[in-house]
């Protein structure tokens, strides 16, 4: 298929349809409104259902219901709306139902700003709701990556019977660039999965979880199996881009739009002779720990965390792996301010020159 110029939000929406998503419920919030807008006409075209719910809470619970029927279902929002959906997302994980949640993030905390930011990293990776469940978090950096990750998201969600979160900043939600869409997947018939409530044949009733409330022993057993699942993610499902790390003395760590601006700066600094590279997590959870572990700490002089968040949020995960073996520097903006090429280049160069002394 030829490449087409599309907007980030619409790219995610179309990729979801092609992945077989046939149910969407959501409530409007900037900067993700093009996702529901697009799906409001696109889903009916393919026999799917679009609902603008009366609230975020209602919408996520409609997704909960659709997922329980075996349908590929999705909801999307931005920071403040994701907080409202937190209860429903926890229930999805608690009853082991697959769904895809999209957060096109904006400035925070509180109502924050409608402009782009990366201030939901901690919420996404540590506690998307109460009760200590974890979800895989995909963080695309280009629209092609957004398409590919969305397209595969239900495969992971269904394998694990757990929600998957796509976390993308509002800048990538708004931007237009070229993507190639994958083939249309045949939508899964409802009731063909072992968690489906309307399942008729061949499935043991115990495969389904008909209550979100469990006896103590069963709940602990479930939590143990979920802990093993997270361990498997860390072993098998990490996605990361390692850029120019072989001889790197300084390692930038950035994701999403920040990683693109950082990469431009790295290329320029390489031309000037600086030995600098980048670790770009594509899965924010599971975090690419191995990329940090295999570095040669006799050579690495420092890490530079670049994020659209103040205070820095990803820094904690970097620090857990670096373990005081090298200093961690930061260059951050927040509140809706974006990075720009000169700003990142100048800030990183200043760190390199200072750190090299």
């Amino acid at each position: 298929m030829a490449k087409v110029l599309v907007k980030g939000n619409e790219a995610i929406a179309e990729a979801a349809v092609r992945a077989g998503c046939r149910f969407f419920a959501g409530y409007p919030i900037t900067p993700q409104n093009e996702i529901p807008e697009y799906l409001s006409w696109r889903l009916p075209e393919v026999g799917g259902v679009f609902v603008q719910g009366e609230s975020e809470v209602a919408s996520v619970n409609m997704v909960y219901g659709a997922a329980a029927s075996g349908c590929r279902a999705m909801t999307s929002s931005s920071g403040p709306g994701i907080s409202l959906k937190a209860e429903g997302i926890s229930y999805l994980s608690g009853t082991q139902l697959p769904a895809v949640i999209v957060n096109i993030s904006r400035g925070g905390p509180g109502l924050g700003s409608i402009q782009p930011a990366q201030q939901d990293y901690l919420q996404a990776t540590k506690a998307l709701g109460h009760g200590g469940f974890r979800v895989m978090v995909f963080a695309p950096s280009t629209l092609q990556e957004a398409v590919d990750l969305t397209y595969s998201a239900w495969d992971y969600a269904e394998r694990d019977r757990n929600p998957v979160l796509i976390l993308m900043d509002g800048c990538l939600g708004a931007i237009m660039e070229q993507v190639e869409f994958p083939e249309m997947k045949e939508p899964m018939r409802e009731g063909t999965k072992n968690w489906s409530l309307n399942r008729v044949e061949g499935v043991h009733r115990s495969d389904r979880l008909l209550t979100p409330y469990f006896p103590e022993a069963m709940l602990e057993m479930q939590n143990k199996s979920r802990a093993l699942m997270v361990k498997r993610w860390e072993e098998n499902d990490v996605k990361v881009e390692e850029f120019m790390l072989d001889d790197a003395e300084f390692v930038v760590v950035a994701y999403g739009i920040s990683a693109r601006v950082a990469k431009e700066a790295i290329l320029k600094l390489r031309e000037e002779g600086y030995k600098i590279g980048m670790i770009r997590p594509i899965t924010l959870f599971p975090f690419p720990k191995e990329s940090f572990r295999k570095l040669d700490y006799t050579k690495v002089k420092g890490f530079i965390d670049i994020e659209l968040a103040i205070p820095a949020q990803m820094r904690d995960d970097i620090a857990l792996e670096v373990k005081d073996r090298a200093p961690i520097y930061e260059y951050c903006r927040s509140g809706g301010f974006l990075f720009d090429d000169d700003g990142v280049y100048t800030a990183v160069k200043k760190i390199l020159d200072g750190g090299a002394k």
Partner: protein, 184 residues
């Protein structure tokens, strides 16, 4: 070669649609392009800006600090973004609304009374196409006349012939201004 264009003005002037058309035209001509809109909560009357980056190969960062070409559709946007134009860059000012004197001497200035031209042609809505014409005429290296004519046909071809003709005339008028400016 990587080139960046900023289109700025007031919501309702066709800022965003200009940016999208330029990006689509570049892509149709086989280039890579990104388009990034920036605006507040207002639909009309608020400040509107978009950045288009065009390149022969994949665009790594779409967030250029300074632009190679700047279209300012009103006074406010000229004041706000005038300084973000690189030395040696091209400024296309809609002088029907940009009233401040343009004093920078390190840039190419295309002064086009685009609103007046558009009204004379029959519809103020085509002022942005006049400005895109100026961009082409001034040889900003982003899109070509041929590619833009194809885009106009793709966009307006299904409408009445006079809509397409109006936009083609607007484009031609803008190109004249662009050419005259670089011939100086």
């Amino acid at each position: 070669m990587k080139k960046s264009l900023v289109v700025s003005g007031s919501g309702g002037q066709g800022v965003m649609s200009s940016g999208i058309m330029v990006a689509q035209t570049a892509v149709a001509a086989g280039k890579c392009a990104t388009y990034l809109p920036e605006y507040g909560p207002e639909q009309r009357g608020g400040s509107a800006k978009c950045t288009v980056v065009v390149n022969d190969t994949e665009i790594i960062s779409p967030l250029a600090s300074k632009c190679d070409t700047l279209i300012t559709m009103n006074e406010q946007s000229y004041k706000k973004f005038g300084a973000s134009l690189k030395a040696g860059g091209v400024l296309i000012a809609n002088t029907s609304r940009v009233i401040s004197p343009i004093t920078r001497e390190d840039i190419v200035v295309v002064a086009v009374p685009a609103d007046d031209i558009a009204v004379e042609l029959g519809n103020i809505k085509c002022a942005n196409i006049v400005l895109i014409g100026a961009l082409i005429g001034a040889d900003a290296g982003i899109i070509t006349e041929e590619a833009m004519l194809n885009s106009l046909t793709a966009k307006f071809g299904s409408k009445k012939q006079e809509v397409l003709d109006l936009n083609k005339a607007a484009l031609a008028k803008g190109i004249e201004f662009g050419k005259a400016a670089i011939a100086k």
